[in-house]
């Protein structure tokens, strides 16, 4: 992997067709001591990436064309590098795109309007992790001697309806993943101690909480649960 020209000056690429965003990002990152290159189109940054890899890449999700940023992320992950830190950028109203960008390989996200503190903090974080990765000789490959385990993750319930649950989580769940949920709330809801099966139907970013949101849909074959949830909700409004 080509190193940046000088170890002290990290090379950062920014791809966005919004000139105001580009100008701001370049200004702030330069002030922070980065060497910044700006690209207004997908083709321009691809051309440049083929020649040299930066330490850090900021990509607009809607680069000229809608969702073209996704193509760029997939291209980088598929053909260029699994580890190059990619930051997806979107407007604060399009949080589902950001979650999708992370699902297909972006490491993190920024929301417009751009916040200087957030931008600089992310850059610092990823430069630090870049060093850690270099020390660790890159990331490990596919696990050897695999052992099946269960991860048990704590989440919070924001909202519930008859078809599913909206949760807030520190972790991003890939869309389509089958999960089982349990805990005192699920017991109160279903009246059974058994866990309830759900699948992640959609995901988004909850930027205010620095977390992810997910809508976990109940199993369509579980006819009982919809009725149980309906009665539980009615009970809440009955009081």
């Amino acid at each position: 992997m080509p190193k940046s020209p000088s170890r002290g000056k990290p090379l950062v690429f920014v791809a966005d067709d919004d000139p105001v965003f580009l100008k701001l990002a370049v200004q702030w990152l330069s002030k922070f001591g980065a060497q910044v290159e700006a690209f207004p189109t997908l083709e321009k940054i691809q051309e440049r990436l083929r020649i040299q890899k930066p330490q850090f890449c900021i990509i607009d999700v809607n680069l000229v064309r809608e969702k073209a940023g996704f193509e760029l992320i997939q291209w980088v992950r598929g053909e260029l590098s699994k580890t190059l830190p990619l930051i997806a950028v979107s407007t604060d109203t399009d949080t589902a795109s950001v979650a999708h960008a992370i699902e297909i390989g972006a490491n993190d996200y920024l929301l417009k309007p751009l916040n200087r503190e957030v931008l600089v903090t992310k850059l610092q974080d990823y430069l630090k992790s870049d060093e850690i990765q270099h020390e660790a000789q890159g990331l490990p490959a596919v696990p050897e001697t695999e052992m099946k385990v269960d991860l048990v993750l704590g989440m919070q319930v924001q909202e519930i309806d008859e078809l599913g649950i909206r949760v807030l989580s520190k972790h991003l769940i890939t869309k389509g993943t089958v999960l089982s949920i349990s805990g005192a709330f699920v017991e109160a809801l279903s009246g059974r101690a058994k866990p309830v099966q759900v699948s992640a139907a959609s995901t988004w970013v909850e930027s205010a909480q620095d977390a992810y949101g997910a809508y976990l849909e109940f199993d369509t074959l579980d006819h009982e649960i919809a009725g149980q949830v309906r009665n539980w909700i009615a009970g809440k409004t009955r009081v």
Partner: protein, 225 residues
């Protein structure tokens, strides 16, 4: 439009009318509950909450009008649309039912096609009920997902899962083999560099054992064997 999970309450004193209504509605995927009187209907809705109520007017004991006027005092019933199904066709009755809050009026005897059409239309306007928790009351949820671990080192191991784990966060990992290895009670914390995206579509995260001592480190290294 999906009628999945939608529930209709039929209030009618004639068993045959209830049965006919049930047959028609179950045929289009709607589930049905029945009450043979106004009192029974109120009793039933203490712990059942239908999306739509089909109400007869002429019943022994309390008439259907009693249900229409009394339900306003129950917040969970006030929002439920009511389709009145009655043999009474005089304008005065229809007007009275509508002014007491009936959503629509269906004249008996009715054909299955018209009944279905009315029910569909009314159910379409009913949203699935939603409850939003106030921020300070959001319940905790335990979410379990299958994963694989491998590449055990002296300090932790690599986790492959469909979840991009947050960095530097405590996670619970459960497996009979971990218990057997004496690592059942270990505290696992994700690494600073977590959530690397792999070609399989899964994420790889390094997880370290917190409070590592020589005994735990030995147990960890044994996992690879």
């Amino acid at each position: 439009m999906s009628l999945k999970g939608k529930e209709v309450l039929i209030i009618d004193d004639v068993p045959d009318v209830r049965l006919l209504g049930r047959r028609i509605l179950e045929n289009i995927g709607v589930s049905v509950i029945e009450a043979d009187s106004v009192d029974k209907a109120f009793e039933l809705t203490v712990n059942k909450s239908p999306h739509l109520i089909v109400l007869d007017l002429e019943m022994p004991g309390k008439p259907g009008f009693a249900f229409l006027s009394a339900r306003r005092e129950f917040p969970h019933l006030a929002q439920v649309p009511i389709l009145v199904a009655s043999g009474l066709s005089d304008k005065k009755t229809v007007f009275q039912a509508i002014s007491l809050g009936a959503t629509d009026y269906l004249l008996k005897p009715f054909s299955a096609a018209i009944f279905i059409q009315k029910v569909r239309k009314l159910l379409k306007d009913v949203d699935y009920r939603t409850y939003k928790f106030p921020v300070e009351e959001m319940p905790k949820l335990q979410v379990r997902v299958s994963a694989q671990i491998g590449n055990a080192s002296g300090t932790g191991f690599l986790v492959e899962s469909p979840v991009k784990l947050a960095a530097s966060t405590r996670v619970t990992i459960e497996a009979p083999l971990l218990d057997q290895a004496g690592l059942g009670n270990a505290i696992y914390v994700t690494d600073q560099v977590a959530g690397y995206h792999g070609a399989s579509g899964n994420y790889f995260s390094t997880v370290n054992v917190a409070g590592l001592d020589e005994t735990l480190a030995r147990k960890l290294r044994k996992l690879n064997a």
